[in-house]
Amino acid sequence: MKLVITETSAAAAVVSFPVQNLDASNVKAFRDEIKAVTDSREIVVLDMSALNFVDSSGLGALLSCLRTMNGKNGQLRIFGMTKPVKALFELVRMHRIFPIYNSREEALEDVVAS
């Protein structure tokens, strides 16, 4: 999948998707690639602006990331959600679980400050 990883600080990284879909066809690649980031960072920020479609396996992978980060007292943040993905998150109640920000700046505000 080749996630685009931008390091903003030693503790945080922004991960962008190079594809429009996160589904059964590429979710394994996502899991493999994101693991390295979640293992090494305290704050992982997902840039969802390129994603237009997520299926249940994609949702599962995102939940798995969230659990991993929460398990090590880290944070997983999301910004740039497109309307279709936002509608799906609201449908399955995941908008109640994930910290969702309106922009990259908002998501990184406290990271940049520190």
């Binding site: 589904d23 299926d55 249940s56 309307k83 279709p84 936002k86 509608a87 799906l88 609201e90 449908l91 399955v92 109640r93």
Partner: protein, 507 residues
């Protein structure tokens, strides 16, 4: 098709949905059900209420469904004539032919909107709504013949039609509307639909309770919550802990699975909503979700979230000939003692307490609970002496009449393959896990284990087709054994001490 001269009203059903979100639902606005009837029918009924007797309908593409719905109008005491726009790009050209005679007026109405105001058919007027401080034409107007002819010559589409009506000089009638012209309009119409009296454009069907309409064959789980106003169509399943409403319309054949919350939304017919989902200000049709607040339409590929549902597997089974014959024989044998018992026990003060509770019969969802074999385990232990006898004579025997008439079958849990079970809603799957033999209540009748919450509400579960005869006889045998055991146990000890007849039954 018969023609009509000098129509009192013209329904314009010639345009496809203008709202791109509505197009995603692949639903024709005039045929979208609003409550208990399609929108187009509401339009026609409004015109009839205004006194229109001769109504012309101008159709565009694929008019078959709309034409079949209205027919010749005889059902409503009017005459309906159908016309087909030869030129789809200019359907209004037909109006030249349909215009009334000089000096007369005609009501113009869209097929997807009902104006709730009363219009004077003998005076030119335009019905408008006020939205965000701006006047919006509702699509309804009473127009003189010359205006109709002018429209026919100059207007090609809705926009031309509206701009041709001079809202600043016409007599304005302010109104609320019920409309399916767009997703937002459909959702905004719901409060008006629920508030209106049946004769004024509201829902004609009698409500189950104030603000709650539940159709035939629908089942609402006892733990589900309905927040009024809510309209539930026919053959709908609302599963446990689901919450529906307020301002929500559930179409025929829908399923709302366990734990989901639906509010301010519309489910078009035969839509399955999976477990623990949130639907708010949206219209759902099959696997398509249109979120009106975000202005986006989604096609959901995951069938555990949303899908079309075929209700064949979940409907109320009808008795086949064998079951009806069996029920007739049983009724002939048991009706006389049942009648005698009723005469004898009439006026008994605590008869209700002594009756075994039949779970799933509450919430008014299932009309005939009389032939269920699933019993509340707690109810059996708490029942007074003679409870099985009472159930046989007061509930089972009268219920046989429904079986004889073919309305319902003798029920249980139909044996299904693993694939079929996995395709069922989740709370149905749990029932199969707890009753692997396929016969709900078997463990309860044997008295060998405590009832799980699913088993205690097993009355909700009906098989798709009547049970095989062997299973029916097996269940009847167990039932008869309980009654006989109770009857024999009562004879020597008629002290009124409650007995735990359930655990003593031999099955």
């Amino acid at each position: 098709m018969s023609a009509t001269t000098n129509p009192d009203a013209i329904i314009l059903a010639c345009w496809a949905a203008a709202d791109p979100l509505l197009r995603q639902l692949q639903a024709e606005p005039p045929l979208i059900p609003m409550g208990d009837k399609p929108m187009l029918q509401r339009v026609l009924e409004k015109l009839v209420d205004l006194g229109c007797k001769r109504i012309a309908v101008v159709h565009g593409n694929q008019p078959q469904e709309a034409e079949a719905l209205l027919g010749d109008g005889e059902r409503w005491g009017c005459h309906v004539a159908h016309y087909y726009a030869a030129d789809d790009s200019s359907p209004l050209g037909l109006l030249a032919r349909l215009a009334p005679a000089v000096g007369q007026y005609c009501v113009l109405a869209p097929a997807d909107t009902v104006a709730l105001a009363s219009l004077d058919r003998n005076e030119a007027s335009v019905a408008c709504t006020l939205e965000s401080g701006k006047l919006q034409w509702s699509g309804w107007a009473v127009l003189p013949a010359k205006t109709i002819r002018w429209i026919a010559k100059t207007a090609r589409d809705r926009g031309d039609l509206e701009s041709g009506l001079d809202l600043s000089t016409s007599r304005l009638v302010m109104t609320a509307t019920i409309s399916t012209s767009s997703v937002a309009a459909t959702l905004d119409s719901l409060p008006h639909l629920f508030d209106c009296a049946p004769g004024a454009g509201g829902i004609s069907r009698r409500p189950r309770a104030m603000g709650i309409w539940i159709g035939n064959g629908s089942r609402v789980h006892p733990t589900a919550r309905l927040h009024l106003p809510v309209f539930i169509g026919n053959n709908v399943l609302i599963a446990e802990n689901a919450e529906v409403g307020p301002n929500t319309m559930i179409g025929d054949g829908c399923i709302v699975d366990a734990g989901s919350q639906i509010e301010n939304s519309v489910l078009l017919p035969k839509t399955y909503v999976g477990q623990n989902l949130d639907v708010s200000r949206a219209v759902l049709a099959g696997n398509t979700l249109v979120n009106a607040r975000l202005g986006v339409a989604l096609q959901i590929q995951d069938t555990e979230f949303l899908r079309n549902t075929d209700r064949r597997g979940l409907g109320c089974p009808k008795a086949n000939l064998t079951q009806r014959a069996l029920a007739a024989i049983l009724w002939l044998a048991l009706a006389p003692p049942g009648f005698a018992w009723r005469l004898k026990s009439e006026g008994s003060a605590d008869r209700a307490q002594a009756t075994i509770g039949v779970p799933g019969a509450v919430a008014g969802a299932y009309l005939s609970s009389k032939v269920r074999f699933a019993m509340s385990h707690e109810g059996i232990h708490a029942a007074k002496e003679g409870a099985w006898t009472r159930h046989l004579l007061a509930t089972f025997v009268p219920g046989l009449r429904d079986v004889i008439s073919g309305k319902v079958a003798l029920v249980g849990l139909q044996p299904r393959t693993v694939q079929e079970i996995l395709a069922l809603p989740y709370y149905w799957q749990r029932l199969y896990r707890n009753a692997p033999t396929g016969l709900i209540g078997e463990a309860l009748l044997q008295g060998t284990e405590d009832a799980s919450p699913e088993m205690s509400h097993a009355g909700d579960v009906l098989s798709a087709t009547p049970l095989p005869l062997a299973r029916v006889l097996s269940v009847l045998r167990r039932y008869a054994a309980r009654v006989m055991t109770e009857a024999l146990a009562r004879k020597p000890e008629h002290s009124g001490t409650p007995r735990n007849t359930a655990s003593e039954a031999v099955v």
